[in-house]
């Protein structure tokens, strides 16, 4: 039972992070390799707002989430919109450079010491007992709940709202979307904003659970195989891929060797690339552009 809970928490972390990869890729066809850093920036955002709004943890959380959304929009406005119409490779390289810059800037601004935003917010990470003798931390439960809400919200947005339809339309055929009057820059900015918001949320929750340090970016990188295993252009695939990668990781840590933790996602990724390169729910032609 405890293993199932651990898998659920880890899968939620990966799913919450990798929906950002999927959102940006399916709208703009760009693989954002700065996503881990943007996630970490979201966590540092919470660290900053926790000190700013001492005694008001909910306000601090809301401000940090809003900040993450604004950062995503700003990244598009300041950098990525110039990449529209350029080769995908140029855009991917721009995200790599952005990631390195952000990592350096965060180290300069916040140092390398482990921070504990949970303590700054005045909260405690209580352990909750579950049937079957398993236990889950309060933040772990919040992670699962947040992932459910984020995915539910994203499905409702993409399927049920006009902007969601336009985002799907622009991702599928940007030229036709422009011919139908859809402003591509607005759609792309929105996808960057939402991706950074969800990634930032993941970063905040991980930081609340396990503390905030510069290695957080590694978790962002480990979520990338989950997105690819599911198929880069599918949110359902992101969920499934996260579950596959998290299951493999937890089971191998439990039964083989905990040191395998960092390599398991990439091992699963390689296996998937050999067997089914377009992922569980991805489409074949999409992969040509990766």
């Amino acid at each position: 039972m405890q293993i199932a809970v651990n898998i659920a928490v880890l899968a939620s972390i990966y799913a919450l992070i990798c929906c950002g990869y999927v959102l940006i890729y399916r709208a703009t066809r760009v693989l954002s390799l700065a996503h881990g850093e943007l996630m970490m920036l979201g966590a540092y955002g919470l660290y900053a707002t926790a000190s700013l709004f001492k005694g008001h943890p909910l306000i601090a959380l809301a401000a940090a989430a809003g900040l993450a959304l604004a950062v995503g929009l700003a990244v598009y406005a300041a950098l990525m919109w110039r990449m529209t119409g350029e080769s995908v490779l140029a855009a991917v390289l721009a995200t790599i450079a952005l990631g390195i810059l952000l990592r350096g800037a965060m180290m300069l601004a916040f140092g390398t010491l482990t921070q504990h935003p949970l303590r700054d917010l005045g909260w405690e990470n209580a352990s909750i007992g579950l049937p079957g003798g398993a236990r889950i931390s309060a933040v772990g439960a919040a992670l699962i709940l947040s992932t459910g809400l984020v995915y539910g919200g994203l499905f409702a947005f993409l399927r049920g709202t006009r902007w969601g339809m336009r985002m799907r339309a622009a991702g599928q055929n940007p030229l036709l979307a422009a011919q139908r009057g859809i402003g591509l820059h607005g759609i792309y900015a929105l996808s960057w904003g939402l991706a950074t918001f969800t990634g930032g949320l993941a970063g905040m929750l991980i930081a609340l659970d396990a503390g905030l340090e510069s290695t957080l970016v590694i978790i962002g990188l480990k979520a990338f195989p989950a997105a690819l295993v599911g198929g880069l252009d599918s949110l359902v695939g992101a969920l499934a891929g996260s579950l596959v990668v998290a299951s493999a990781e937890v089971l191998l840590i439990q039964y083989v060797d905990p040191l395998l933790s960092d390599v398991v996602p990439f091992f699963v990724l390689l296996a998937m690339l050999v067997v089914r390169p377009w992922g569980l729910f991805g489409t074949r032609e999409e992969l040509d552009r990766v």
């Binding site: 799907r168 339309a169 036709l176 139908r180 009057g181 402003g183």
Partner: protein, 267 residues
């Protein structure tokens, strides 16, 4: 006669800075009319259409001379979304629907021209193409060629256009369906009041619905007139309608020596 809604003035379009695909093209489209732009493959029709809709920049092409004037405003250098916002909607020749979206979503995703009533525009699309109502939930990727064409025109109508640009409506459709689609264009004009510029290889069907026609060859307009005048013209009959050659074998205008052609057009 009322002022034209669209006017091309000595338009010249160059690809990759060296290849001139359209030269000195001038044409006028009066409000509420259907105008046909006829010609064979490579004549420059689609380039002219894309220059009008603002999309040639994506093909590494640009308007190097002349002007595109829509409702008194020069639009040849406007980005595509600004052109669409002015009320110009394009029905492209290929990739004309969002295949992963349902029929209803295809119509809903379109952004109507500012000031237009969005719900009414979509209702009109369903009224003119009732088949779309029955296919509302079907993914566009599973539609037949004719249904796709209806959806393409329907979703262009959802943009509430004042000028509808239609590229090769007859492409890939059975002859009976082509005639049906042409009749629907007349309905579109009657119901929405939209002006239509129709680019078409199939002169026979295009001249059935058009109020006026232009013929393009080698990037230039070589002839224009009413459908009656064009149908009566010896070269149109011979090269585009296949009825005037007298030899029993249909010929292309390219088969005829240039000096004789020049004498015929301008003589």
């Amino acid at each position: 006669m009322s002022a034209p809604l669209l006017r091309l003035e000595k338009l010249e379009v160059t690809y990759h800075r060296v290849i001139t695909a359209v030269q000195g093209v001038s044409l006028e489209v009066a409000p509420g009319t259907i105008v046909a732009l006829l010609g064979t493959n490579g004549a420059g029709k689609t380039t002219t259409l894309r220059a009008t809709s603002g999309f040639i920049g994506l093909d590494d092409a640009r308007v190097t001379e002349g002007a595109v004037v829509f409702d008194g405003e020069r639009i040849e250098n406007l980005p595509p979304h600004r052109v669409t916002a002015l009320g110009i909607a394009l029905v492209p020749e290929r990739n004309k629907v969002f295949e992963n979206l349902s029929v209803a979503e295809n119509l809903d995703a379109a952004v109507p021209r500012p000031g237009a009533r969005r719900r009414r525009s979509i209702e009109l699309a369903y009224e003119i193409f009732p088949a779309l109502g029955r296919l509302r939930r079907r993914e566009a990727g599973y539609l037949s060629g004719g249904e796709r064409q209806m959806l393409a025109i329907g979703s262009a109508l959802a943009c509430a256009p004042r000028l509808l640009l239609v590229d090769e409506l007859s492409q890939g459709l059975a002859p009976l369906l082509v005639e049906e689609m042409m009749r629907r264009l007349e309905t579109v004009r009657a119901e929405t009041g939209a002006t239509i510029l129709l680019v078409e290889q199939n002169a026979q069907v295009a001249l059935e619905v058009a109020d006026y026609g232009y013929v393009m060859e080698n990037g230039r307009i070589v002839l224009d007139g009413t459908p009656e005048r064009l149908r009566a013209h010896q070269d149109i009959r011979e090269f585009y309608l296949g009825t005037g050659g007298g030899t029993g074998r249909r010929r292309s205008y390219r088969d005829v020596k240039q000096y004789r052609r020049s004498r015929r057009w301008y003589g």
